[in-house]
């Protein structure tokens, strides 16, 4: 018997197998993205930090929206061409569809790339600074520097690849602090230089000795229980006498183990630096760190169990600042019942002259905006009978300045204009246009100057690139658009398969290929539809 209804629909259901399957699959996809959209709502509603609104550059997203819509049209045209038995037209339309998918992914990649190179720092007072990293003192990114004097290596977790990251810096400079003596035999003398071979050998020794000891002690423990049970028949293990008998017997048995049977299992080796070695450590590799402040004596435990001890070095973060935001500061201040304006005024950030000037100018911009809104939208009477402005600047307007504002203020200053004399509209006109900085702040072209700021590490509460780590907005943005992107790639592969390998199917039975393209097209529409929802919630809301 053959599997029926592959090309021709079943009479009573009116459907082919693949048509049913694709709708079922889409139902599960709806649940998948439904789960993600629900998570988005949950995370946004319960966010205890300011949710970034309209934080993404709209233009690439908008173009991508049109690209996907266009591809949805062409995929239908491709299907229709097959129905009309026009293979060439099908190929043209399908090629356009697949090209659109590629273009979509290229734009997505550009957006991602910009974020991976954009740094954010949250200060102890919850002020947020964004910008591009400025390499300094051998730091490429936001590494933590330690002038390491001793390095202890956890032999069990020791891994060669992890070691290799540091070996260039410490090979030849680290020497074994104390001789490794195992049961009277000196394995490595004190002062022996660190090497992968040495560590691997010590690791093996540790694991073997540990296993050896465990085997012996397990046997003794077993014997002691056997003895105690025989001495106290009819009792249970919680019986005090049995417990005592077992305990005593175990001690006795362990004491009686011939010397040399139990081996010393050394689980870590400590090395001393001939002179302090400056190590720059990627924060992602750090499990915990005692202090970040330069000059403090510190110790850093890495993810592979390695402990570095010494003096903390310069781990400052130097940024070309393209945005500052006090929204989180204000939120925290309100939570604690502190006046938000005072919290901002006390912020470490405003101790920097350049930033202070910027912020003072920003306050004028806000004032101008407030005036503008009042003139434009007039006032209304609130519940208490007071006359209030119908529209007021948003939290983001008030407490955050973005890169375009920073650039505009600089331009105006260069032109020698006093902000007080300008209207809201005149200030707005100085802003870079919508197309400037396609994927965000434009650091590349050199057209704009951004103020440089050095942030001492002890002022930093949290720092990250604009990756999922920065906050849950970016986390859900990357997760959802990433999954959507995978769907685009998957869909494009399937459609490209029909484009390049569908001819055989077409020759056998054109309706067969048409059915397949219809099914692929349904999926493609779904991918488009998801984006139609993603675009507004991520870019516009």
């Amino acid at each position: 018997m053959e599997i029926p209804y592959i090309v021709n629909p079943r009479k009573d259901t009116g459907l082919t197998n693949s048509k049913i399957a694709i709708w079922l699959f889409l139902a599960s996809e709806v649940m998948l993205f439904g789960g993600l959209f629900s998570a988005y709502i949950f995370l946004r509603v319960y966010a205890d930090y300011p949710w970034p609104e309209r934080a993404l550059p709209v233009l690439p997203g908008l173009i991508n929206t049109f690209i996907l819509i266009a591809s949805s049209v062409t995929v239908v045209m491709a299907w229709a061409s097959l129905k009309l038995r026009e293979l060439t037209k099908f190929r043209i339309y399908m090629s356009i569809t697949v090209l659109c998918a590629g273009l979509f992914m290229v734009l997505k990649g550009m957006e991602y790339n910009a974020k991976f190179h954009h740094q954010a720092v949250r200060l102890n007072d919850y002020a947020v600074v964004e910008g591009h990293l400025h390499p300094h003192e051998g730091l490429k990114g936001t590494e933590i520097t330690i002038e390491a004097e001793t390095v202890s290596i956890d032999l069990f977790k020791f891994s060669k690849s992890y070691y290799a990251d540091f070996s260039a810096e410490w090979d030849g400079k680290l020497q074994l602090e104390k001789a490794l003596v195992v049961d009277g035999e000196e394995i490595f003398p004190a002062g022996q230089a660190i090497s992968v071979d040495m560590l691997s050998q010590a690791k093996e020794l540790f694991i073997n000795n540990r296993a050896n000891n465990a085997e012996i002690l397990e046997d003794k423990l077993r014997q002691s229980w056997k003895f105690a049970k025989e001495e106290t028949p009819g009792e249970n293990n919680r019986n005090a006498e049995r417990k005592k008998l077992q305990n005593d017997k175990y001690k006795e048995l362990v004491d009686a183990i011939p010397a040399g049977d139990l081996k010393t299992a050394v689980g870590s080796l400590t090395f001393k630096a001939t002179s302090p070695i400056a190590l720059h450590i990627d924060p992602k590799k750090i499990y915990k760190s005692a202090s970040d402040k330069e000059g403090d004596s510190g110790s850093i435990v890495l993810n592979d169990g390695t402990t570095l001890a010494g003096t903390m070095g310069n781990s400052d973060i130097v940024l070309d600042v393209d945005a500052i935001s006090f929204r989180h500061t204000v939120m925290q201040a309100e939570k604690m019942g502190i006046d938000p304006e005072a919290a901002i005024a006390n912020s470490w950030l405003l101790k920097d002259e350049g930033i202070k000037t910027l912020w003072d100018n920003h306050l004028i911009v806000v004032e101008k905006l407030e005036q503008h809104l009042l003139e434009e939208y007039k006032t209304k009477t609130d519940a208490n009978g007071n006359e209030v402005a119908k529209r007021v600047p948003t939290e983001a307007d008030r407490y955050r300045m973005g890169w375009k504002e920073i650039v505009a203020l600089e331009e105006l200053q260069k032109a020698g204009k006093d902000l007080h004399d300008l209207t809201h509209q005149e200030i707005q006109d100085a802003y870079p246009s919508m197309t400037a900085g396609f994927t965000g702040a434009d650091h590349k072209s050199g057209k704009y100057n951004f103020p440089k700021l050095t942030i001492p590490r002890e002022q930093v509460l949290f720092e990250s690139k604009f990756t999922p780590a920065w906050n849950n907005y970016y986390a859900i943005y990357f997760t959802m658009t990433g999954l959507h992107g995978l769907h685009v790639i998957g869909g494009a592969i399937v459609l490209a398969y029909y484009l390049f390998f569908g001819t055989g199917m077409y020759r056998k039975n054109p309706e067969w290929l048409a059915n397949r393209v219809e099914v692929g097209g349904l999926f493609w529409h779904f991918v488009d539809l998801v984006w139609i929802f993603l675009f507004p919630i991520m870019y516009l809301m």
Binding site: N17, M31, A47, D48, R210, E218, N237, Y287, A469
Partner: protein, 613 residues
């Protein structure tokens, strides 16, 4: 279209390993699932030792095959420390649910029986079917292989709640190579496998039914598989979302499930963005987690529903109400999930809603069980091997269901939450309930699969000890749970015992009163393992030495799978089957035999011809 016909004489590898035939895939699922069940059982055997004899080294008969290096890392001079217990516990749950029972019920029985019962030549998408199996196997191996990673396997419970799971295995050079991450990766494979499987099942049932097999002529098993398919299709994706989000949390350092200001004993204030919600994970997890219970249950109850009519020689009582019951059950299973979360502080209003829906769902469950029990009434029962298991299923699953009712109430749950009562409740559902139902299925269809009967003697040796021991294993859990025993105590409560009668520590005294039940339960568990030996021997030996079946329909059953050759060849049916009647036409007056198969062309009704005479 034609590629199905291409491999009539496939080679060994194509026929038995990379097979696209639903029967072979069903058997692959069954054998793999049973191996995983055995492994999950073994983990539990070790855990039960730690519970009963916490201070004694694990006996050699349990641990002789573990190598010294592994033992040195994970056992403490032969004793099981809490961390290892947690790892075993997390993996026991995961393996039993995701790698054992679901693949056995849905994967094995669904695959083998469903296409046969609807008169289809195969599943609608045979290659997809093969992909489902291999994704399942790879996912399972990934998860279990993590026992041998330096980090060990996942250790945060089968529910993998953050932030607990977030901290597990964080201090590791390579986050991808840790048990906790591999659990998530394995899970993504398993979910993908079930999604492909469920799409395939539903399509097959909708479109590949034989001529004349209208919806209400479908055997109950097919209905159950249809509903199971829909549950898997729609409830698994949110878990996939949760898994992906946890993966992003682990590997790309996001804070989806980590609240602000998270503090860890060792690390101090956690260096993460914060602002996430552990509650979100629980919602996403239980949106699958609860429907999953019905994914476990429905195939088992479906097997029983097939076996009872055959062995009572009378129709299934209330077939239609069972069908509607299972549909309602499937629907309601989507809106009960938060009854697992009464203790999270999500608020009394939400608790009340879920308490109501949870009580509602007991109605269709009771309908199903009641119909099965009434089906026995007035039947001429044949106590064949499958029937014994089916009969045991009814009361055992009944206990499991009824002990769930107190848990449905948020007030009572305050006391019972996370105690051994919960463990007792769902193990009654899953082990003597679902597994007994599936055992029944194995004994029932074995003659069709192999052409031979399983041994009756070995069946009795398997059945009676299992039935008795499993009750000694699980019933005391209910008692201990009401006494307040926590489900995650790795030493069975040893640390809480108070022996001094003068002590003011009432709880310690209550623990002391009930702690010795541990020994009874553990011993039962170990003996239960021994009681499975006759089954293993039976399955293997009957394949070669079992008594051959007399014909293609050895049980004189009515459903279509018995119209195939034994064992069914590729394409299943020798000629296209046509269905003339409902699935359970037993003891009909118009035919001489006491069964009237679906595929048998109708005879002239006897009653009419006799009337005039």
């Amino acid at each position: 279209m034609s590629d199905h016909a291409d491999h009539h004489n496939p080679g060994f590898i194509q026929k038995y390993i990379f097979s696209t035939d639903h029967k072979t895939i069903g058997i692959q699922y069954g054998l793999t699932a049973m191996l995983f069940l055995l492994f999950g059982f073994y983990l539990m055997i070790m855990m039960r030792w730690s519970i009963a004899y916490p201070n004694e080294p694990v006996p050699e008969w349990m641990s002789f095959f573990l190598n010294d290096t592994w033992k040195a890392q994970w056992l403490q001079n032969g004793k099981m420390p809490g961390e290892t217990y947690n790892m075993f516990g997390a993996m026991h749950g995961t393996i039993m649910v995701f790698l054992g029972v679901v693949p056995l019920g849905f994967g094995a029985f669904g695959n083998y029986v469903t296409p046969l019962q609807i008169g289809a030549p195969d599943m609608a998408f045979p290659k997809l079917n093969m992909a489902s199996y291999w994704l399942y196997l790879v996912g399972g191996i990934i998860m279990c292989a993590s026992f041998f990673l330096p980090s060990g396997a996942a250790k945060s419970g089968w529910t993998n709640y953050p932030p607990l799971s977030f901290f597990a295995d964080t201090q590791h050079p390579n986050q991808w190579m840790t048990g906790q991450t591999q659990w998530l990766v394995g899970m993504v494979f398993l979910i993908t496998s079930s999604l492909l499987g469920s799409v395939n099942f539903i399509t097959t049932i909708i479109n590949l039914r034989a001529k004349g097999l209208t919806w209400f002529r479908m055997p109950f098993l097919v209905w159950a598989m249809l509903v199971t398919g829909f549950i898997l299709l729609l409830s698994f994706p949110p878990l996939e979302v949760a898994g992906i989000m946890q993966l992003v949390d682990r590997v790309w350092d996001s804070s989806f499930f980590q609240p602000s200001g998270l503090y860890h004993r060792e690390i101090g204030l956690v260096n993460a963005a914060g602002g996430g919600s552990p509650l979100l994970f629980q919602h996403l997890f239980w949106f699958l987690g609860h429907p999953e219970v019905y994914v476990l249950l429905l195939p088992a109850i479906a097997c029983v529903a097939e076996i009872i009519p055959v062995n009572t020689r009378r129709p299934l009582w209330g077939y239609k109400s069972m069908v509607y019951g299972v549909l309602v059950l499937g629907f309601l299973s989507f809106i009960v999930w938060a009854h697992h979360m009464y203790m999270t502080g999500m608020g009394p209003a939400i608790s009340t809603f879920f308490q109501t829906t949870t009580n509602l769902i007991s109605i269709p469950s009771v309908i199903l069980l009641t119909c099965l029990i009434i089906s026995l009434w007035g039947g001429s029962i044949r106590f064949t091997p499958p029937m014994m298991w089916a009969c045991a299923f009814l009361p055992m699953f009944g206990i499991g269901g009824l002990t769930g009712l107190p848990l449905a109430f948020s007030m009572l749950d305050l006391h019972l939450h996370d105690t051994y009562y919960v463990i007792g409740h769902f193990h009654y559902v899953v082990a003597p309930g679902i597994l007994f139902g599936l055992f029944a299925g194995i004994y029932h269809w074995y003659p069709k699969i192999s052409g031979r009967y399983m041994s009756k003697v070995l069946t009795h040796l398997h059945f009676w000890p299992s039935l008795i021991l499993i009750n000694f294993l699980f019933f005391p859990m209910l008692i201990q749970g009401m006494a307040g025993f926590h489900r995650r105590w790795y030493n069975g409560g040893d640390a809480y015992v108070v022996t001094d009668p003068e002590s003011a520590n009432v709880f310690g005294k209550v623990v002391a009163e009930h702690i010795d039940l541990n020994i009874l339960m553990s011993t039962s568990a170990w003996l239960l393992a021994v009681a499975q030996l006759p089954f293993i021997i039976n399955v293997l030996s009957a394949w070669i030495w079992g008594k051959k079946v007399e014909n293609d329909n050895p049980w004189n059953a009515t459903t279509l799978e018995w119209a195939t050759p034994t064992p069914p060849g590729h394409g299943n049916f020798t000629k296209e089957p046509i269905v003339y009647r409902g699935p359970y036409e037993y003891s009909r007056p118009e035919v001489d035999e006491d069964y009237y198969p679906q595929w048998q062309a109708p005879v002239k009704p006897k009653a009419e011809t006799n009337k005039d005479a």
